[in-house]
Symmetry: none
DNA sequence: TATGAATGAGCGTTCATTCAT
DNA sequence: AATGAATGAACGCTCATTCAT
């Protein structure tokens, strides 16, 4: 059962949903097709099971990273790093979660959207947290758009990174963060309009601090 | 012939390459399958024809916009705006050009990669233009990564925009531009060596520090 | 019209009836399909037209050769030589006349059978001519069988000769003639009752002997 | 599985490779197409399977018959009889093995050629066995041609016999044998240099005479 | 007379899915 | 709990053939 998922995951990730047949899978796992159907019902549900295993590993990782961050800036950084760390750990997981080959397949599309939505919410949450309460409502749409864009950037960068392998995952993450961070800061500043010079400077300082926090928090988790 | 492409384009965009059958297309166009084959040879080539029509409309638009810009900043802005203007004019074009449903289909994959590559080159060109000659070579990899990320952001934002339609295209474009612009400016400044010594050292230090921390953490994990 | 036939003939001969499409033919001739259909009605009839051109050239050649021969022996020789001369002059003609790729195609089969039948009749005529009037009726079936066998030998030898080209056509013809001539002479002699009693008995004996040997050997095998 | 082959064999034999569709076969067997594909992969391979069943039955029968023969004369006789015995046992087998309807179909052509080649080799072996060692090399080409002719005669006679059924199989076999035997004996004698000078000259003369007659007659025709 | 444009019918093949055991 | 055997439903593609002009 566990091995079925593992093998299926690997196959889907490498060759895409449509290109993998149930015969292939059965042969690769070393069981017969009816067994696959007994366990997973149909191909879609098998794929979704793979997705969920990956999603249920990725989302908490990011959620924890974000939740453990001291402020919005740190949350973004921690989230992106968590994302690339995850990829580094399981390159295939990514492909199953976000490969759009399956995006048009009925039941799968919903599930993919769901995961994307959860991620987007988390990103949006981070972004909104930068804003003072009273601005949030009116900025919600823009934040939604920015979340989508941010996720898209992360996905595309991840794809590039997986394909080229030219730089370390953390460097890729840093690249993305450092590119959007100033813009986001300006935006929240503008939207917030009330930040003191101190806060801005403090931001600079607190970035290093946050990194440290993130790192130490993760270390603790392992110990758990 | 033109109508065939139009209808096929619309179908592919809406339902994805794999989900559209030649029978569907023939029925939708109001002709018979053999006619489709007479004109386009096979399904792949029909899809590619749709893609090319879209690509050959999109690429020059962006290229012109970028070429006509006064400087790097304006180029980015003009390019992104051109991209969203294009989408506004033909929403489906986008999906056919970048829907990954077809990415695993032999001959199509190459063509998709080609268009993506051209776009990425254009973006990379804009980004590199910010750098003084002698820094370009060593920054090339990072620029490649940034191009991928930027395109990903634009694609994702476009997808969101097409799905929600909540804001005007130009506003979506502006959102993306204003988010990445400051970061890109900082980067090119830094890489261009025109920054104050302080800024360079500060950034440099904190970056190395973070990297170092993360690395040591990961090393420890391995030991576990 | 004449060129159509020529090109079609060449195509059919080289690639076989089924493998040649009307599109191929139209393209090879340099006209459009409807023209082909105007002239020949359909593919079958076009093929038959090719066959007839070849058959109407081959049959008279052989008929003349046979008719001009001094006696039965010479008739056989002249016929076989005429056959191979014909092949030497137009190698493709052969393939269209006797390629069995088309043998199962309705209307063609009949026409092929017709030509074969005419040839067989001519051969049978030669063979029967060796027999005195009153024996002909009772030998008719055997003569029919021999005709078929002889034609088959000639066809197969022709195929081999066309493929290998190892010896001149006349030598191939001579090979066939010299191999069957003695047997046919013996046969007509025997049937004609002009053979000495010794010859008849000798032949008879060896025949029974061979039969006996064969049968007993088979019986032994069964016991194994 | 066995029944599939049997039915397919019968269909192919009766209607030819091209005329039989997989749908026909499935319906005739009483199963569905996918099952056919499960077992045989594709149409070609199914046909080849039929051929092999026939070939693997025919070849050993002939090989054994030839091998068990006392001398060259007996080998020929035994071989031809084995061939017709085989046909008598399974009339359809023949058609599948040698029907040229399939000769142009890629993978099949090779297999057909293979079987023909094996048979031809056996025949050629019998014929060569008649010759003294030192003559074999130079006679090889003629023997090849004779093998082809002999096989062609047997095939054609078989076709005639299957179609007419006018005489017993063994009589058909005997007819062929008695027709070629004397000629082959003469040939091996001549090549073996054991013939009397008279016989050789007589043969030689009549041969040249025939050639001369033929040639001059043709020359006259041209002048007409 | 000749064609550009179009099609009806069917073929080989595949795949997710399901019984009977 | 697991399978060997089987299938319904399409799918991409081709070909001989025919109108409208």
């Amino acid at each position: 059962m566990e091995q079925m998922l593992t093998v299926a995951h690997e196959q889907f990730a490498r060759r895409g949903y449509a290109a993998v047949t149930m015969d292939d899978l059965a042969a690769a796992v070393g069981v017969t097709k009816p067994l696959l159907y007994n366990y997973f019902g149909n191909k879609e549900r098998l794929y979704i099971a793979c997705m969920e295993r990956a999603g249920d590993a990725l989302l908490p990782m990011i959620a924890d990273a974000v939740a453990g961050a001291a402020g919005p800036v740190e949350a973004l950084s921690a989230g992106v790093h968590a994302f690339f760390d995850f990829l580094e750990g399981d390159r295939a997981a990514w492909a199953v979660l976000f490969d759009e080959t399956s995006a048009h397949v009925g039941a799968v599309a919903g599930r993919v959207a769901e995961y994307r939505g959860l991620l987007a919410q988390m990103v949006a949450g981070s972004l909104l947290a930068r804003l003072p309460e009273r601005r949030r409502a009116q900025a919600r749409v823009e934040v939604e758009a920015l979340s989508a864009a941010l996720l898209g950037a992360a996905e595309a960068l991840a794809r590039w990174w997986l394909a080229s392998g030219a730089i370390p995952a953390s460097q890729a993450a840093e690249l993305l963060i450092s590119t959007v961070e100033p813009g986001l800061r300006l935006r929240s500043g503008r939207e917030g309009e009330h930040r003191s010079r101190d806060a801005r400077e403090g931001e600079h300082r607190s970035r290093e601090a946050r990194e440290g926090e993130r790192k130490s928090r993760k270390a603790k988790e392992k110990g758990t």
